[in-house]
Assembly symmetry: C2
Homo-oligomer: 519 residues x 2
């Protein structure tokens, strides 16, 4: 990922200085390899900025912090994952849209709370002030309001940008894909919400990432719970974000934060503690509707009634085996107004280790939970923020955490030493003899024109061995070999790379034979 050049006389000196400083830092704080890499990158950048002592411009050959290139193998995996997900979205009747990578800065203002500091702004080069999109939900809401759309079921797969602390080994980047499915429109309660969960279930099953569960809760239940536990109204949000840490911290620490940092009474915290330890299904929702305290909150009752209804649809959709009503689920973003959910991988060995937060600025949605691979909820107010008359368009949606899924799939591919093909070439047109370039080009033209995926080496007289080696390396299954004799006989020698079998095929039958063998 990193290469430096332009250093001449001073490189050895600076190099050893870098290493010793890294050692020092390492011994100091027990950094991870990824952290060391980043420290090295920073130092090398600094070095590059200082310039060498030979006056030559110092240049760091790298991608920006928190970003990466996708090589062909990674692209092959990425395309496979996208294909599975898009297929599911289409099975559920979704259309797709696209929006620009940047929006007017104003469009993003006031939508992300504290996380706004993580937005990338563009330089003011005259004209409008712009920012890179932070998610796909706000642009979607802007799109609906701008085009006065009140009904749509759409997916959107695109990159979003956050100036967050990257943790690339765990699939957390500053540039990363989001993969969103949303249903906008005024419908009967919980039907679209249930379909979103069905989609998450189908996708995680089909991607075969191991066992998972989907946690469900409702913003109104959380708010109602805070109210009946005696949390002052103005502390709902901050207490909610503390509850959100239950994934990463034991209850004792969460309680401490509530009491010591956020000034909640011990009694209120304990009451919250009782509730947030509850998990169940429709039965739990029913029990809480009878709960003497909880049932005092109208909001909570509305949420609980919807959870009951939701579970009745989830039963019909045959997905209750993986869905759990969990009162500790409290997603970060401000715009949720109803049902919220989050999917987690539960299989050991797949879920990455617990992240040391170290007061890292802006732990974003992706880091909400260990092994979290999807999340979403209902946001009925967001579109209204963009509408001139404040007209609301109720929305519910889900975002698939595709980068983490890529990471897992890449690790799996490496682990099982599975050969990932990066091209789809069916046949290589080759020759063992010299001066047959034109004949090879003629044959490959015939194949291309017939829709066959075919390659030819860009050499006048390549060695047969190097042509065959290329096939082995890139998984090309067939070789069409030409020689003087074959040309005279009007045939082509078709070789199967896997078993080295060769058979003469008449030139007129070649296309059909290749299609037959590679279908």
């Amino acid at each position: 990922m990193l290469a430096v050049f332009g250093v001449r006389t001073s490189s050895a000196l600076l190099g050893s200085w870098t290493v010793s400083r890294v050692r020092f830092l390492h011994s100091l704080s027990g950094m991870t390899v990824a952290q060391i890499d980043e420290e090295v990158a920073k130092l090398l950048e600094l070095k590059a900025k200082l310039g060498g002592d030979d006056g030559k411009h110092q240049f760091v050959l790298k991608t920006p912090k928190g970003t990466r290139d996708y090589n062909p193998k990674q692209m092959a995996i990425r395309e496979k994952v996208f294909s599975t997900i898009i297929h599911c979205f289409k099975r559920h009747g979704a259309e797709t849209i696209d929006t620009p990578v940047f929006e007017l800065k104003e469009t993003l203002t006031g939508k992300y709370g504290e996380d706004s500091k993580l937005i990338y702004d563009l330089k003011d080069q005259g004209g409008e002030l712009l920012s890179l999109r932070y998610d796909l939900t706000v642009p979607f809401a802007r799109y609906l309001a701008m085009n006065k759309i009140t009904n749509i079921k759409r997916y959107h797969i695109a990159k979003v940008y956050r100036r967050d602390n990257p943790a690339m080994t765990r699939g957390r980047y500053r540039e990363f894909y989001q993969c969103d499915f949303d249903i906008a429109g005024q419908y009967d309660a919980m039907i679209p919400d249930a379909e979103c969960l069905k989609i998450v279930y189908e996708i995680l099953r089909e991607l075969d990432l191991g066992d998972f569960r989907i946690k469900v809760n409702d913003r109104r239940i959380l708010d109602g719970m805070f109210a009946v536990c005696g949390v002052p109204d103005d502390k709902f949000r901050t207490i909610c974000s503390t509850v959100d840490k239950l994934d990463k911290m034991p209850w004792e620490d969460v309680k401490k934060e509530m009491v010591n940092e956020k000034g909640l009474s011990e009694a209120a915290a304990d009451q919250i503690g009782t509730y947030v330890s509850m998990q169940g299904g429709m039965d739990l929702a029913e029990r809480l509707l009878q709960d003497p305290k909880m049932s005092q909150s109208k909001q909570a009752c509305a949420g609980l009634t919807d959870i009951k209804l939701l579970f009745s649809y989830l039963q019909i959709f045959q997905i209750t085996d993986k869905v759990v009503f969990d009162l500790s689920l409290a997603r970060g973003l401000d715009y949720y107004t109803g049902v919220i959910y989050e999917a987690l991988l539960t299989q050991a060995g797949v879920a990455p280790v617990v992240e040391a937060q170290n007061g890292a600025p802006g732990s974003t949605e992706e880091s909400v939970s260990v092994g979290s691979v999807a999340g979403g909820g209902r946001y009925d107010g967001l579109v209204g923020m963009f509408d001139p008359k404040g007209r609301k368009v109720p929305c519910v949606g889900v975002s698939i955490g595709i980068e983490r899924i890529f990471s897992i799939m890449e690790q799996k591919a490496e682990a099982c030493a599975e050969k990932v093909r990066t091209t789809e070439v069916q046949v290589m047109v080759a020759s063992a003899q010299k001066n047959l370039l034109e004949e090879r080009l003629k044959l490959v033209t015939e194949l291309w024109n017939a829709g066959i995926k075919a390659e030819v080496m860009y050499k006048k007289n390549p060695k047969l061995l190097s042509q065959l080696q290329h096939c082995e390396e890139s998984g090309i299954p067939l070789v069409a070999i030409l020689g003087e004799q074959e040309l005279k006989d009007g045939v082509v020698k078709l070789r199967v790379v896997a078993n080295r079998e060769e058979v003469d095929i008449s030139r007129g039958d070649l296309v059909e034979e290749i299609k037959r063998r590679t279908s």
Copy 2:
């Protein structure tokens, strides 16, 4: 594309002021509709910035200048175009990669000559200085150098960013897709170059955009020509960019610019004029190799010899009917070192009107020529600019001007009133009776689980008519209708939307029947 709100008491006043100013501007300079739209947008922005007199925040609901959303219909067209192009790239054995949307500012520095002023920079928010990518070629070269790759055949489809004067009605945006295919590696002359042209030919044929031709030239021939015509070395580049205008200006004007603005002698200009009017094929290359003046330049001879060889391969590829050797072709970018080419649509009615340049800053590649839909060439030096030891990796590639193609395809779809489907739903699960929501959900679950693309209305008791209307509007071919009787009989009434035929299908056979009818 534009909506403004937040204006209360003052809106009528400001509105009429805007209109009168636009009228004034219009009468002033005979603006196009697109230009007026942009002027209006600017004024409304200004209005929004000034704020209303009621203290309410003024907000313009729009996408940034020069950008657009893609609605589902546009996405359907976009996906069709991409699919054709990607299919062709894969037929020729290409892998794909992806790079970040921004690069270190330094990576882009010194690669685009004058056009550098069109690069979008990110705001300095601490850390590295970043810029949005301006094309896919420079990131590709950076990728090759960084990963020490010396051989690859790759395509890359992604958005690039230019702070250019947008002309959106003609498909010129500030955010737009590029669609690049490149072959990197040390190979025998003109074989990969010929394949790039073959690919352009195949794509333009398959997209069915009407007749086209592909102009070919060579940087070395241009430079040699300038040398033998007496152009001073330091004026090659500026004279080259004047020649580049022959697409849009008559020779007299081009000559005037050479003589009056760039200080070339009349004789030299006339000599250039004779050469740049030449068009032909292999025969022209042969004739010029015998030309007493041209043959004095070693560079020109090398270029001409390669053009001859190129045409011999193009003959084998069966594409010479559309390719013409044209000495007036002079592409703008600095990094080309050998063969250059450009594809143009020639059919009347499709190619947009000649663009009034009006001294617009930075006419970019996309605007090089009326109807230009693809371009590229050989750039053997670019990767070396990134390599610490200056090691060169010869490259040749082509970029498909996909935005212009989208525009044409959209116009075509509109013109023939062709219905573009935006979903792939095969069947709608419906009911004519009340209280069958659960039964509808059960059936749609069966269908989804069997891989059928199916929809159900998110209403407890939707009207049959509205369910059928939805099918007509979105082109869903089949409706599976449930009623008490059907449930009792264990059947589903399958209705063909097109002809309203209905037939009872036993529930167990439904999936197969839907597959059969929609395959």
